[in-house]
Structures are given as structure tokens and as C-alpha cells.
Symmetry: C2
Subunit: 141 residues, 2 copies
């Protein structure tokens, strides 16, 4: 099924901004911000508005056609740090965040990725999202 069909099936229309955003991302070699996508998109279709880029990204992300990357810069939300490397567990219902230790657990996966991609992995960001014990019991999922 083409992405056009996927959009249509989900009740969305196939429009110029969505087409252009997708094409820009296909040609990109690194994650792009909305501004960057807009600038590049305008070279393809000069009337493309920045607001439409925001809106297109929202729809395309919901449709699973685009993935948001979280990078060090420009994300808020802070918790207290424990010493050493920790992963973070976040409850999607109450927002509680819990740290848990462990880097070793990933070494197998990291080895595999290094072998397959040629990357040298230096650091990682792992966040697990779910429901904490109290929230599992109370109210609607």
C-alpha cells in the first residue's frame, strides 16, 4: 500500500504540503527541524507555508510515515539525576518519571548495531513509556 493510500484510508487527504514534506525528508541525510523542512520545501514549491509544515508533520507522524527524533538540544522536561548512567521510565498517565540503572543490558544490542552499521556507539538515550503500578489499577487505561 502506497503512502497516499495509507493517508486516504485513515481519512486524510493527499495534499501538496504533505507531498513536499515527505519528499524533503526522503532527500535529507539527517533529521530536519520544521524550519529546515520549510526552507527546503520552498525550493520545490515556493508557496509552501511554515504552518502547513507543522500541520503536515503532525499528520504524517500520526500516520506513521514520519518519526520524531529527540535530540539533546531543544527539549524541556527535567528530573533529578542519580550518579551514573540511568535509563528513564515514564508513566504516560500520571507523568511520574523513575530512573533505573543499566548500560550493560544493551551491550549485546550495541555490538550488533556496530557490526551491522559501522557506527561506533558512544552514548544512548533509552526511555521506557508505560503505566506505573498505581495508574494500572485506577481509571480508564
Amino acid at each position: 500500500m502506497s503512502w497516499e493510500e495509507r493517508l486516504n484510508q485513515a481519512g486524510w487527504r493527499v495534499t501538496m504540503p504533505r507531498r513536499v514534506v515527505l519528499r524533503v525528508l526522503q532527500q535529507a541525510r539527517r533529521p530536519l527541524s520544521p524550519q529546515e523542512i520549510h526552507a527546503r520545501g520552498r525550493r520545490i514549491h515556493p508557496s509552501l507555508g511554515l504552518v502547513s509544515v507543522y500541520r503536515a508533520l503532525e499528520v504524517l507522524e500520526q500516520a506513521g510515515l514520519v518519526r520524531r527524533v529527540h535530540r539533546e538540544a531543544r527539549c524541556d522536561g527535567y528530573i533529578l539525576a542519580s550518579p551514573g548512567h540511568h535509563h528513564v521510565l515514564i508513566c504516560r498517565r500520571c507523568g511520574r518519571a523513575v530512573e533505573f540503572p543499566g548500560a550493560e543490558d544493551l551491550s549485546g544490542l550495541i555490538d550488533q548495531v556496530e557490526r551491522r552499521t559501522g557506527f561506533r556507539v558512544e552514548d544512548h538515550l533509552l526511555q521506557l513509556i508505560g503505566l506505573c503500578a498505581p495508574c494500572r489499577g485506577s481509571g480508564p487505561a
Copy 2:
């Protein structure tokens, strides 16, 4: 070593905003945005400025006393998505982002976390940061 000593050793001063931000985060039960930290901090020390909260977070994060949490909302940077769940590998030098499949790799870790914390893990965000093959060869680390 106390956090005050850690700051001093790293050449930073122990100041009111840093003290207040840390105290607010100690009392918080979920990740807080700079704005939220500011609002709560003012209840402890009404002259606290928002700008100082930003600056304190920056320093405390560098000192390893505070950890930034990346959440779905409010992060830019997009890449094209492949179907299904993928992790993301990002080169810190050239910015290239590569997806790689795999959720099974984490099942052991997730089981362990669920047992120890009572959370039910539904989703996760894993990003590996490192150097891609071309960047490993060229220029300064």
C-alpha cells in the same frame, strides 16, 4: 561528596537559583519544564528569575546533577519513518540518522524493569549516539 562540593570542584558557585532548582526537583514527582520549575521555585524564593532557572538547569545538567528527559511533545527534528518499530542511531559529528529495527532485543531488560518497578512498559524510545563509519576516519574526534 555533596552536590555543593561537586559544583565548587567544577569551578561553579553554589547560588540561590541553583539551590532552589535542585530543591524543586527533589520534591517533584514528575519531569518539570523550566516554566514549572520557575513557578514552584518562586514559592520558595519569590525573587527567582526565569532566566536564572534556564541558566541553573544548564549548569546542573553539565554537573550531572540534573537529567533532561525527552518527551513526545516539544522536540523538533524529524526523519522519515520505516514501517514498524525502529530505534535511531545518530552520528554526533555529521548528524546523520539511521534507523534500525528491533524491539525484541530489549525484552529481557523490559521484563526486569517491570518486575522491579511494577510498571507495565508499553513503548520505548531508544536512540544511540556515536560516530558513523565515514566520520570515524576523518578529522578530529
